[in-house]
Assembly symmetry: C2
Homo-oligomer: 407 residues x 2
């Protein structure tokens, strides 16, 4: 017997936006949960987000074995493929035709704020068309910038990658000296760049300076900051968000960008180029006497590196997927599944259904309490916030370096 | 009683050149072995290679606990600090004064071909000065380009990083399509770039194209290659060595480099800039109709990322360090410890003392049998060679993608 307030039909799930290390955990969490409920007949996956619905490019997820699904869950990037496409009202009409044709009554879309917006539009159009549909957004983004969420699936693992990279890079910088600039993903929110701070184990460990999109970036101040650290330590490790902007809000990277590629959601391309790192390194080289200046751009590695996953992140990503299906089955019509942190000293979270509109489109930024007064570092409050999400990090060993007495 | 052919005195060890993930294994291997031999009284470490000897900046390695040494062994980068400095005859005279002052009779220098040259010069000067010294080079380099060696410590772990990065990046490219170019370290030898091929698990997995410094790089041919792969698969993942040169031997990166920084050994700076990736991406954008083109430069992450170590690499790095001390104690005067692969189907190696001069200065390249005829990929022979060195990689899961029949 089907429970009250539920509907019978098929389920369709898809993935959208930039992949993460744990986005497949959410997919598998939703599929395994759906298998438990007889209201859901067939489980379909659309390839490459809403593009796959428009093209009727659907796969049968009930044909995948439990073992295969478990391995996929532990594999980075979007197993169903992805897309960056904002549906027009005409697209939505076409989407409903397909959903009706396949008797889809449960729709789940895994993605960030742009994907939440897409889900919201589809839900609104469905309502207008009086098409009976349970419509849910499942959160993910390494940027950690979704409203309503304490943090988002994908951030923990990307943060772990960034922290491990800085742990090694700080030691590299101790060994050879000079200035090292690392550019990290984050268009409007600095959370992932800030995660570099988790690499510190001793007082003099880098990153020594952290620049975030939340604070205006001034080139003169940057040079001054670097000089001060270098004078003190003979070296300097810097974390810079790709999205840093000047006081007028203009991205620093555009000062050199030869092309200004824009995606369907109006975002300028920031990643996949070493331009920002090179601009900053050149500035230090030309304005100081420091000879060894290097810049690396972490690029796509931080969102899809195989074999670097936060266990907390993986568990929670699975959880939001499963939770979305349970919410839909239990009679709720729509929503986005948000991660809320429970109060108390011990880290614990719960999943809560929130309105689609409250997550869609706009993003959230690093709160002021996470950024120091000078705007070039993070606070202990940020470390306390991020550490349990990123989880266990490698143990770093250093020599005591007891000097030999001169004979 | 001290064995025949041995000398009593203190030992000094130092690290030089670019750090690796396992260079501290060699350090700890040598120190723990030295502790077993009563001929070696004190164990000193020089900070920042020969610079630390010249500055009498020495530490007492017997003051480090076994636990501390074990943790340091598992920590990337050079725990003693590093340097890129080629000693002059005057430097060598100064070095001997310090060695004599501290009664150093056992000298170990961990590094690549430049460091082998340094060790060779010190050894020759010691001989001329009739200073009794056991002088050994302990090999390391992620470039894997030391003569006499089947492979070198550091390569396996860097190769593992490159392979894991490509595993994830290939999946990212499957999800979003387009062309992805990754620039990998390797000035003259393509081994590390070639290790990207280990990421492949299925026939259509990237990297689809691999460009090495051993074959001249032609821009027109590159564009043609990329177009062919993109036409077939709708995507393309490319591994490019930072050291690729044109038919006249001129590095492609110099076509854009604003500054030409050169180190003490005459090497132009190739790493720590995103220039090469951006040049190649721009070429694809301007010469094809492919819109999504991205480039990442792996940079320093590949040699010092914390938490990505090949177990084989770690074990062998420890082994060459310990072996150098055993060779010195057993009466041999000088040499470099090389890794030789034993014949047979099962992977096994042995450590062999070879003349310092035979490792110093010149490097070795990828043999022709490891590169395909077109010069844009590696052969199965390379995969068979590199797989046991890089060791275990994460398991990648993909969906079967059984299509849903249209209703």
């Amino acid at each position: 017997m089907v429970a009250k307030n539920t509907i019978e039909g098929n389920m369709l799930i898809a993935q959208s936006g930039g992949p993460t290390a744990v986005i497949n955990q959410s997919l598998v969490g939703a599929v395994l949960e759906a298998k438990k409920h007889k209201e859901i007949k067939n489980i379909y996956g659309a390839l490459c987000g809403i593009q796959g619905i428009l093209d009727e490019n659907l796969i049968n997820l009930k044909k995948e074995s439990k073992t295969a699904l478990d391995t996929v869950a532990n594999t980075p990037s979007s197993a169903l493929g992805s897309v960056r496409r904002k549906p027009t009202p005409a697209d939505c009409a076409a989407i409903f035709q397909v959903l009706e044709k396949y008797n889809v009554r449960y729709f789940f879309y895994i993605g960030g704020n742009d994907s939440a917006e897409t889900t919201h539009i589809i839900n609104e159009e469905a309502r207008k068309a009086k098409y009976q549909l349970r419509c849910f957004h499942i959160c993910k983004t390494i940027d950690n910038d979704l409203r309503q969420n304490d943090h988002t699936p994908g951030f923990g693992s990307a943060g772990k990658f960034v922290a491990q990279a800085f742990m090694g890079d700080n030691l590299d910088n101790i060994a050879l000296g000079g200035v090292k600039i690392n550019v990290i993903m984050g268009r409007h929110a600095g959370f992932l760049t800030a995660a570099a701070a988790l690499a510190r184990q001793d007082e003099e460990d880098g990153p020594h300076l952290i620049y975030l999109p939340e604070r205006p970036f001034a080139m003169g101040r940057f040079v001054k900051d670097v000089k001060a650290v270098h004078n003190k330590l003979g070296r300097c490790v810097i974390a810079v968000s790709e999205g840093i902007v000047d006081v007028r809000g203009i991205p620093i990277v555009t000062k050199a960008a030869s092309s200004k590629e824009v995606d369907a959601h109006g975002n300028v391309q920031l990643s996949g180029t070493g331009a920002l790192g090179d601009i900053l390194a050149q500035e230090i080289k030309s304005k100081t006497k420091i000879t060894r200046v290097r810049a690396d751009t972490f690029g796509y590695l931080q969102r899809s590196f195989a074999g670097c996953v936060s266990e907390t992140d993986a568990r929670e990503a699975f959880g939001v997927g499963a939770s979305a299906v349970r919410e839909a089955i239990s009679g709720n019509k729509d929503g986005s599944i948000a991660i809320k942190r429970k109060p108390g000293k011990k880290y614990a979270v719960e999943f809560k259904r929130v309105p689609l509109k409250s997550v869609a489109k706009e993003t959230q930024h690093m709160p002021a309490k996470f950024i120091n007064a000078a705007g070039n570092n993070v606070t202990q409050a940020f470390i306390d916030y991020a550490a349990p999400i990123v989880g266990k990090l490698p143990r770093i060993g250093k020599l005591k370096r007891v000097p030999v007495r001169k004979p």
